[in-house]
């Protein structure tokens, strides 16, 4: 059982160190927003989180080398999505444009990935997505001339993740001794 932890943030790198009560060797299974990331034998792991970004980190410790990190995973509510696609059969693809649409709004380019003749498949990890927002994605192959090809569309999906915790401030009314909670500016 993990009983304590420390969190250190330098730039975009957040390092989490935990202390386990188990007798070594101990295997640490790390999760970000419920999504399994991997196992370490060290009780520390670094995460790439942007300034102001909130995330939930879980770590399960076990002395069982064959511990199943998927069967024992906490509930997963990831704030990012991996968009995966197989290459276009066309031979003149110069790059792939990854577009994202939020709540039926404008399509926005979130990434362009050069076509690699040796690559069979590609993937793109989205930025942290907004809670309770419906997103759709499409992959557009673009040729060397700049012509857009036929998109590969992904069905729209409602993202429900662990919401950001609110920063708040309080004031008190001396006449009523009641306290008003407000979002911190």
């Amino acid at each position: 059982m993990t009983v304590s932890y420390t969190v250190t943030t330098v730039g975009d790198t957040t390092t989490v160190t935990v202390a386990s009560t188990l007798t070594p060797p101990v295997y640490y299974f790390w999760y970000l927003d419920g999504q399994y990331l991997g196992m370490t034998e060290e009780a520390t792991r670094a995460f790439n989180l942007l300034a102001g970004e909130q995330a939930r980190i879980d770590v399960l410790d076990s002395t069982d080398e064959d511990f199943d990190p998927y069967a024992n995973a906490p509930a997963a509510y990831p704030s990012r999505k991996t968009i995966f696609w197989i290459r276009s059969p066309a031979t003149d693809v110069d790059y792939y444009r990854v577009e994202q649409q939020a709540d039926g709004g404008e399509w926005e380019t979130v990434e362009t990935i050069p076509a690699d003749p040796d690559a069979w498949s590609y993937s793109s990890l989205t930025e942290r997505l907004d809670d309770l927002t419906t997103y759709a994605w499409r992959i557009i192959p673009v040729d060397v001339v700049g012509n857009d090809g036929t998109p590969l569309a992904f069905a729209a999906e409602l993202i429900v993740r662990i919401p950001d915790a609110p920063a708040f401030a309080v004031t008190i009314d001396p006449d009523t001794s009641k306290i008003t909670f407000a979002e911190a500016v």
């Binding site: 969190v7 909130q54 939930r56 199943d68 998927y70 069967a71 509930a75 997963a76 509510y77 991996t82 995966f84 197989i86 069979w120 498949s121 993937s123 809670d131 309770l132 999906e157 409602l158 429900v160 993740r161 662990i162 919401p163 950001d164 915790a165 609110p166 920063a167 708040f168 401030a169 309080v170 004031t171 008190i172 009314d173 001396p174 006449d175 009523t176 001794s177 009641k178 306290i179 008003t180 909670f181 407000a182 979002e183 911190a184």
Partner: protein
């Protein structure tokens, strides 16, 4: 081979998202029976194999040299399969890759999420799936039931009139026999009771149990099967090797039950609130003033946001990760807001019994401290306070505790303090206490070397005897 499919509006239900593959193979569908996790897809030449998540045995290698779509079965459960489209020219001579499988929301097996209003009033939703036989063979004795630990809100029916919640194949909803390309309708009903609690992720898990055989009359199939088992089959018995009993087709999908979104307010006059505490007030929007009054004294306040299914937890709002705001109420007003304590500090032993206190602090707002306050006690004696200037916004503490006797135990605490009075009549407000640190003073140097003597000139080099 058996190929029953669950369809919604004539499109095969997408039970699991599948990400990852080997060159030359495009995942088309993953059987729900795989469950979530990471499976392994591999090839040697044009032979492809699938190992389902959690399985220790790769399935039989399938010759895909003709290209096209192939169904690759797992070695432990042939109904846990991965269907791929193979482009032979792109296959590597040998490759292996993880294929990551994850449940999907609202995919037809699980219908749309239940919103907060419907969760309050209750909701009964009927929907349908189509079970289609996509193989040339015959699917017989089709029975649909619910995985035993699955959602008890789901009911099944073969006709939309008689409903049940079977959890075994024997008690399952019978859909009879499906010849090649034939289909049947499976009716589902989801009953969500009024005032249903939120559910962030609810799995609907169906199991279709059936027997598979060649497309001939059932009686004839049995007879010829018996002939085959008795070793008397003749060349007139076609494709009997494909006969298989108790085939399984799973269907799975997720949905959510929302409750109303709200901010959750916590308070305590004894210790910082825990996320597991019951909020003393909730509100749909901010700013918000609860009816509760706050008596004079110290209060710890925290807040989280609940989006209808998931709670945010507390944000660390303090400089040291405190998940609360601490206030002191005096005569109905917030009397004092203490300055932030030190960000970090430690002790160093110096010669002659001196103890050095090194620390760092940071604060520049209206509550920032004016001074450091170092408290120390020697051998259980009374606290002595030593103060020094705290320069805003950053300040480094470097304070010497006077020399103490050897082996004396010095216990040290560090705070900051702010003068809310005047220079002549100060009113000091101290930061919250942090854990003390202690050292045992080392004021005496080591004892002398154990012995020694002198010798005229260099000692001679070793001389052999």
């Amino acid at each position: 081979m058996p190929d029953l499919r669950l369809e919604l509006s004539a499109v095969e239900v997408h039970h699991l998202a599948a990400v990852g593959t080997i060159p030359g193979a495009t995942p088309l569908a993953a059987a729900a029976r795989n469950g979530q996790g990471a499976g392994t897809l591999s090839n040697i030449g044009t032979d492809l194999q699938w190992t389902a998540p959690g399985s220790a045995t790769a399935g039989t290698a399938v010759d895909c040299s003709d290209g096209g779509a192939f169904t690759l079965a797992d070695g432990e459960d042939v109904d846990a399969w991965l269907r791929v489209a193979v482009t032979v020219a792109s296959l590597a001579s040998a490759a292996e890759a993880w294929v990551y499988l994850a449940d999907r929301y609202n995919n037809g097996v699980a219908e749309a999420d239940v919103d907060a209003e419907d969760a309050t009033t209750g909701q009964t939703l009927e929907y349908q799936l189509t079970l289609r036989n996509a193989d040339v063979g015959l699917a017989h004795n089709i029975a649909v039931y619910l995985e035993s630990s699955a959602d008890d809100r789901i009911w099944l029916s073969a006709d939309g009139a008689t409903w049940s919640q079977p959890t075994t194949a024997v008690a399952g909803v019978s859909l009879g026999t499906l010849l090649s390309t034939e289909s049947a309708t499976l009716y589902l009903k989801r009953i969500v009771a009024a005032d249903a609690a939120c559910v962030p992720s609810q799995l609907v898990h169906l199991i279709v149990n059936y027997d598979y055989g060649p497309s001939i009359g059932w009686t004839d199939w049995i007879r010829k099967s018996l002939c085959w088992y008795c070793g008397t089959a003749t060349a007139s018995v076609p494709t009997l090797i494909a006969v298989r009993l108790d085939c399984k087709l799973d269907g799975r999908g997720l949905y959510r039950i929302f409750n109303a979104a709200e901010y959750r307010l916590y308070r305590s006059n004894s210790a910082p609130p825990a996320e597991s505490d019951t909020p003393f007030a909730t509100t749909a929007s901010l700013p918000y003033t609860p009816d509760d009054t706050f008596a004079d004294g110290t209060w710890y306040l925290s807040m989280s946001y609940f989006n209808g299914v998931l709670d945010s937890g507390f944000l660390p709002v303090g400089p040291l990760g405190e998940t609360y705001i601490k206030i002191v109420v005096d005569s109905g007003v917030i009397a004092t807001t203490p300055p932030n304590g030190p960000l970090n500090w430690h002790l160093e032993l110096l010669p002659a019994g001196v103890v050095r206190v090194i620390g760092v602090g940071c604060q520049s707002d209206e509550y920032a401290p004016d001074e450091w306050a170092v408290f120390y006690a020697v051998d259980g004696g009374s606290d002595v306070e030593v103060n020094s200037t705290f320069s805003q916004p950053y300040s480094v503490l470097d304070s010497m505790i006077p020399a103490q006797a050897d082996a004396a135990v010095v216990v040290v605490g560090v705070k900051t303090r702010r003068n809310d009075g005047t220079t002549g009549s100060p009113t000091w407000v101290y930061s919250d206490a942090q854990a003390t640190q202690s050292v045992t003073v080392d004021a005496v140097g080591p004892t002398a070397p154990a012995g020694g003597d002198d010798y005229p000139g260099p000692v001679p080099e070793a001389v052999e005897a």
